[in-house]
């Protein structure tokens, strides 16, 4: 499973490199936790866009692609996200590295 978190907006308007995670490259404990969090977030039941784009608020685009190729992309502001989705994003931030730091082929 591959997860990518992109960030945009904010008063500074800075564009940071996206954070990416391939669960196949994670240690077993992290991988199991990430898979469990994705299941708990029930992405298929969530709307495509979560929360209004308030002025200067940071916005995120989360893309999750399963091993079966099924993909979900959600635009969100953190304050409007359900708790399970927030927990998934926190974990993703914790374990992710910018794509350039990943090993080739991962």
């Amino acid at each position: 499973m591959k997860l990518v978190l992109e960030r945009g907006g904010g008063v500074a308007g800075l564009r940071k490199p996206p954070l990416a995670v391939d669960t196949a490259a994670l240690p077993v404990g992290d991988r199991d936790r990430m898979v469990a969090l994705v299941e708990a977030a029930e992405l298929a039941t969530l709307p495509r866009v979560i929360g209004d784009a308030a002025n200067d608020q940071l916005g995120y685009t989360l893309s999750v692609t399963g091993d079966d190729g099924q993909a979900h992309t959600i635009d969100l502001v953190i304050s409007a996200a359900p708790p399970a989705l927030r927990e998934l994003i926190s974990e993703l931030r914790r374990v992710a590295a910018p794509p350039s730091a990943r090993t080739p082929g991962s």
């Binding site: 992109e6 960030r7 945009g8 907006g9 904010g10 008063v11 500074a12 308007g13 800075l14 564009r15 996206p18 708990a40 209004d52 784009a53 308030a54 002025n55 200067d56 608020q57 940071l58 916005g59 995120y60 685009t61 635009d75 969100l76 502001v77 953190i78 304050s79 359900p82 708790p83 399970a84 927990e87 926190s90 931030r93």
Partner: protein, 391 residues
């Protein structure tokens, strides 16, 4: 883990809350507004406050409150300073309080505007906000109701209350919400951002009593920490109205991506990650138009002529206005307020950033000696084409 259940218990019906929200008693009014805002199923915060604009209290005294989120994401947080109270021991809370006061005074004295909604709306700010408990928050925003400030990451950014122009930028988002209500995406969103930068810079210039030549025209210069480098001889900042695209050029931050001309308009995706179509990027174009208008209008201060023209435009635009429509509106307001010379100055500014077309130069042909015209050759009759059908 699991979803929190949301209680949908609304004891007081919305129409009654709306009525209470316009009540003369401040406690009744504020309680009703808070309840309406908590009812997120009913409307968004911005919609509610826009609706309440007409029912809010008439112009009243300045009412500032600063809250402390204590490095968490709960809003508004714990109250740390109220209007008229002694300064807090927390410098960040005092910056938010004082900055809101200067911005309020600017709108009151220059435009006779009574607070954010022109109806004396209270000004609430929260400092020490974080989205994640362990990560410094590199941002400030207006959530439709109040201003929110992070403390920065401590490496590149300090507290976002450091810059008066950022405080005025956020408060101006509130003003825009009650005026043009510019939709926060694509060109109307970039105009929304630009009005915040324009008035943000103007508030700082007014506070320092700077002429347009003395002003730095930078946004957020004070909140960038030492070591961040710019793309010019000016100090590093988040944006430059004078020279968009040069505010920062730093190994860690990258280069300021703002264009100063329509030929460099950034076509970004209309997603959160795409900054809603580059609202913080393409704002460089109308930002620079304002700077050029100030130069061409040749008044000493930004708030002498350009400010009133832009303010009148903000009150006249429709929510989905484009750059071109905003440009035409400023030209119209320039004519209304100051006449032909101002029209020429403002029009020239928008032409220089490529939003208004530059009139084609008409070349006068030399007068040639008269010669009798050559009679046209009669067309040869069509040999194969069938005659045209009658009209």
């Amino acid at each position: 883990m699991g979803h929190r259940k949301t209680c949908r218990c609304y004891i007081i019906p919305p129409h009654m809350l709306n009525h209470m929200a316009g009540h003369a008693d401040a406690q009744v009014r504020d309680a009703a507004r808070t309840t309406l805002l908590a009812n997120r199923e009913l409307h968004t915060q911005r919609e509610i406050y826009a609706t309440l604009g007409g029912t809010a209290l008439a112009a009243g005294p300045l009412r500032r409150t600063v809250y402390d989120a204590r490095n968490a994401d709960g809003l508004p947080g714990a109250r740390v300073r109220s209007e008229g109270s002694a300064p807090s021991h927390d410098a960040t809370a005092n910056e938010a309080y004082e900055g809101a006061g200067v911005t309020h005074a600017f709108y009151e004295k220059v435009f006779h505007r009574h607070s954010i909604d022109d109806q004396g709306m209270r000004i609430d700010s929260t400092v020490h906000f974080r989205e994640e408990p362990d990560v410094g928050f590199d941002n400030a925003f207006w959530n439709g109701r109040q201003m929110v400030y992070g403390d920065g990451d401590g490496e590149l950014f300090g507290p976002f209350t450091r810059s008066l122009d950022v405080i005025a930028h956020e408060l101006t988002h509130g003003v825009t919400q009650f005026e043009a209500a510019l939709v926060y995406r694509k060109q109307s969103g970039a105009l929304n951002e630009s009005f915040s930068d324009v008035f943000g810079s103007m508030v700082k210039q007014w506070h320092l009593n700077q002429t347009i030549d003395q002003a730095d025209w930078l946004i957020g210069q004070e909140l960038l920490l030492a070591g961040v480098t710019s793309g010019s001889s000016a100090p590093a900042a988040l944006r430059s109205l004078k020279a968009p695209g040069t505010a920062y050029a730093d190994d860690r931050l990258g280069n300021d991506p703002q264009p100063a001309h329509m030929s460099n308009f950034a076509h970004l995706s209309d997603t959160r990650a795409g900054d809603n179509g580059g609202v913080h990027i393409n704002s460089g174009i109308p930002n620079h138009a304002f700077y050029l208008a100030c130069k061409h209008l040749a008044a000493p201060h930004a708030w002498d002529k350009a400010g009133p023209i832009w303010y009148a435009t903000l009150r006249a635009l429709h929510p989905r206005a484009t750059f071109l429509q905003a440009a035409k509106a400023t030209v119209m307001q320039a004519d209304h307020l100051y006449g032909a010379d101002a029209v020429k100055a403002v029009r020239t500014a928008w032409q220089e950033v490529g939003v208004l077309p530059v009139p084609e130069v008409v070349h006068v042909m030399p007068i040639l000696p008269r010669t009798p015209p050559t009679p046209p050759t009669p067309p040869s009759p069509p040999s194969e084409s069938p005659p045209a059908p009658p009209a």
